[in-house]
């Protein structure tokens, strides 16, 4: 049921070392065996990272998994929302109902930190460009402009995308709906 906690064998004190994570600490009470994580079933397909904690060497239960602040773990009892609401929203999110999202990563050349964008909130290439120009504060070009089918300034950056074959293509050649079904990632590269 609840997530497991790794427990440190910790010298009793009432105040915590601020560098130790609170969830890893214990007071004078004996170390409890870490509980088995029953939310395993819900983690299928999600990457689970064992949190790299200093307490891993003193874990007592071999089978249990250190959870603590592991951000990849899905808890079914946190955050606290009513079960009916949770299942209704989960059903809608998984596409059983009309509302869906299509988040893709967007990187710009020279910028190691990327952004994420929900393409389903946009209605076409124009809105995509506008959104990206806002996000990255730079003029960006796509296929129609680059090849001068649509008049516009040729900007310093070109928008490209990675399709399902792993190829990097210039954005704008295919109809929007077809683009949505094949896009995996976006990259804003320098022109020329």
């Amino acid at each position: 049921m609840a997530e497991c906690k790794g427990r440190d064998q910790y010298s009793p004190s009432s105040s915590m070392d601020s560098s130790t994570h609170p969830a890893l600490s214990t007071t004078a009470s004996p170390c409890r065996p870490a509980r088995q994580d029953l939310s395993t079933d819900l983690r299928l397909g999600l990457s689970l990272s064992t949190s790299p904690s200093s307490s891993s060497s003193s874990l007592h239960e071999v089978e249990s998994i250190v959870s603590t602040p592991s951000r990849n773990q899905v808890l079914f009892n946190w955050p606290p929302i009513k079960p009916l609401l949770r299942s209704a929203l989960a059903a809608s999110a998984s596409g059983h109902r009309r509302h869906r999202t299509l988040f893709v990563k967007v990187y710009m050349d020279g910028f190691p930190i990327g952004r994420k964008l929900d393409l389903l909130l946009l209605v076409g290439y124009d809105s995509l460009l506008i959104k990206l120009c806002h996000m990255f504060k730079t003029p960006i070009t796509y296929a129609a402009v680059y090849h001068q089918q649509v008049p516009g300034v040729k900007a310093a950056h070109i928008l490209t995308y990675e399709d399902q074959d792993g190829d990097w293509m210039m954005v704008g050649d295919v109809p929007w709906k077809l683009f949505l079904s094949s896009v995996k990632k976006l990259k804003i590269t320098r022109a020329g």
């Binding site: 906690k5 808890l75 955050p79």
Partner: protein, 600 residues
């Protein structure tokens, strides 16, 4: 109870008039009838024996906020005249899968038997919250409730099915209210009873019929016929299978509608939806709106957003309550609608509206008092849709805010402090930073100062839920300033026992304490011994309690029922306490205890 007894002085000479004590009783009873607030009545009953008697005889609203705390026999002996009874069962954390099912499966049975044997002969209404009720219980009730019985409502209950509802519908003549809200009903797909058709023919007295959580489809013909013969219907909440076309037809039959649960709010495939156009929807809502009666909307279980805007111009101006918690609307869809809702007092919305949606809402809905911003994607690493910007905007715009529940991924102390300064009327502040142990994301500091400001500046605060990274200092603030706090929920916070000690020794009005996954141990627990009898319950799960500590509490407080619950019934517990749930009770430990519960 005081030992003063006004009956003691005997009359000095024969009187023609009734003895003064009986006159006093009559006067008392007459006066006490005007006293409604439960706390006032409770205080009145403690004055002396005759006040106790008079109050007990005249109490019409009985709230047993923990069904395990008092037996029906005891309640019936003391309050035989009860008209309205509220029973609450499971602790709230059971809603979040923290309590294994079957924890108190038969707690309602003795009450059902009591009602059936006319222990409360004047019973008119029964409200059940977080209680397991079986179809057999409902059948028993249906056949034996007094003719005065009018209202039955279920909130967050489970264990019954359409068969139980059918029993109620067919046997409770004169039923005015049947509300089934947020219940997990046991439905066997192929054995669904048509409880709507089970209502007897002829006009009904129904004023409120809500079944938004009912999962199977209700045959529309029967529903339409029922609504057609319920002239007093003011509140109607249909489930997600009722399409927009069907809703329109129902609305034509309910001219006095005040509360509407709209079902899917999307056109369906049936005959009722053929040729459905926006004009027809507009007419349906404007006729309800013209009488200014429709004040509350909920449902929208499969919202087609274009229709939301349609009703804005005719219905939004009168709305005081709007529940969009099942409708993932985007800011573009939300803004034009909320701009019309100038009288809104209650709003439940998903964070899909984003900070800009909240900002717009704050600029239009100046009368807002109760707000919930719920997470579309309730995971701690979901995309951030609302943030401290939304919270600050709300506090700027909605100065009269009384209650807020706000889910977000990250927060800042500054925004929380701003809210504490802008919204002095706050009675309920529940902030859920979904990322566990998340500090202030701008400064990197714990969220101590934010919550400290809330307890310091919001003097009317009675309910507080904390989240994010909190050190013992936060609890020091809560203990020092949270003098009116009655309900406190703490999760994944604190550094050690000192935090719990601050709470238990500082919050003198604390009645309900829910703690999960905090590093609090026996020392912290034991620091509250002086106060536990003043509390309704204490829940501590995932903490560092031991059997000895809990045994110590049980030993020193015999009127507390101390339950240790094993949240994983399959595996053996060796030492350490998984869940501690303790509550005061007049009845002592309950007898039907599942194997995963141990009562000390």
């Amino acid at each position: 109870m005081s030992e003063e007894d006004e009956d003691q002085a005997p009359p000095k000479r024969p009187r023609a008039t009734p003895p003064p004590d009986q006159v006093l009783d009559n006067v008392l009873e007459t006066v006490l009838q005007f006293l409604a607030a439960p706390r006032d009545r409770s205080a009145a009953s403690l004055v002396c024996r005759s006040w106790h008697r008079a109050e007990s005889a005249t109490r019409v609203s009985l709230a047993v906020r923990n069904i395990l705390a008092a037996s029906p026999a005891r309640a019936a002996r003391r309050f035989p005249n009860a008209h309205h009874i509220l029973l609450k069962g499971r602790p709230r954390f059971a809603d979040f899968n923290l309590l294994p099912p079957g924890w108190a499966g038969s707690a309602f049975r003795p009450w059902a038997a009591a009602f059936a044997s006319a222990a409360f002969p004047a019973l008119r209404s029964l409200s059940l919250k977080r209680i397991t009720v079986t179809d057999d219980d409902l059948d028993l009730l249906a056949r034996s409730l007094p003719p005065s019985f009018r209202e039955l409502s279920f909130l967050l209950c489970d264990g019954f099915s359409s068969r139980g509802l059918a029993s109620i519908a067919s046997h409770c003549r004169g039923l005015r209210v049947l509300d089934v809200v947020d219940c997990e009903m046991n439905e066997e797909d192929d054995e669904v009873s048509d409880w709507v058709a089970a209502f007897p023919p002829g006009p009904t007295n129904l004023e409120s019929l809500c079944f938004e959580c009912f999962t199977p489809q209700v045959p529309f013909a029967a529903l339409e016929a029922l609504v057609a013969r319920s002239p007093r219907l003011r509140r109607l909440g249909v489930n997600q299978h009722v399409s927009l076309g069907q809703l329109r037809r129902l609305m034509a039959l309910t001219p006095h509608l005040t509360h509407l649960g709209t079902g899917a709010f999307r056109p369906g495939d049936g005959a009722e939806d053929e040729g459905l156009d926006l004009g027809q929807i507009l007419t349906a809502f404007s006729s309800a709106g013209r009488a200014n009666t429709l004040v509350s909307l909920s449902g929208f279980r499969d919202l087609a957003p274009e229709y939301l805007l349609t009703i804005a111009t005719v219905a939004a101006a009168n709305l005081t309550s709007l529940d969009l918690s099942y409708a993932p609307v985007t800011p573009d869809q939300f803004l034009p609608f909320i701009a019309q809702c100038r009288n809104l007092e209650t709003l439940w919305v998903l964070d899909s509206v984003r900070d800009e949606g909240l900002d717009a809402m704050a600029s239009f809905c100046k009368k807002l008092q109760f707000l919930r911003v719920l997470p579309l994607d309730a995971h701690e690493d979901a995309d951030e849709l609302v943030s401290e910007i939304g919270l600050a905007a709300i506090s700027e715009g909605c100065r009269g805010l009384r209650s807020i529940l706000y889910f977000c991924q990250r927060m800042t102390n500054a925004a929380v402090i701003t809210m504490s300064q802008n919204c002095p009327e706050l009675k309920v502040f529940r902030l859920c930073i979904m990322g566990r142990h998340q500090p202030d994301h701008m400064t990197g500091e714990p969220m101590d100062e934010g919550f400290g400001a809330i307890v310091r500046n919001c003097s009317k605060l009675t309910r507080l839920s904390t989240s994010g990274r909190l050190t013992d200092r936060a609890f020091e603030y809560i203990g020092k300033y949270g003098k009116s706090v009655r309900t406190l929920s703490v999760a994944f916070a604190g550094d050690g026992d000192l935090a719990l000690q601050h709470l238990l020794q500082g919050c003198s009005k604390l009645e309900k304490l829910e703690i999960r996954d905090c590093p609090f141990g026996d020392a912290g627990l034991l620091s509250g011994m002086h106060h536990f009898y003043n509390m309704r319950f204490v829940w501590m799960s995932g903490c560092n309690l031991t059997l000895q500590g809990c045994k110590e509490v049980a030993r020193r407080l015999p009127r507390m029922v101390v339950e240790l619950v094993n949240s994983q019934p399959e595996s053996e517990r060796t030492d350490g306490v998984d869940i501690l749930y303790m509550y005061r009770s007049l009845e002592g430990p309950r007898e039907d205890v599942p194997p995963f519960v141990k009562i000390l």
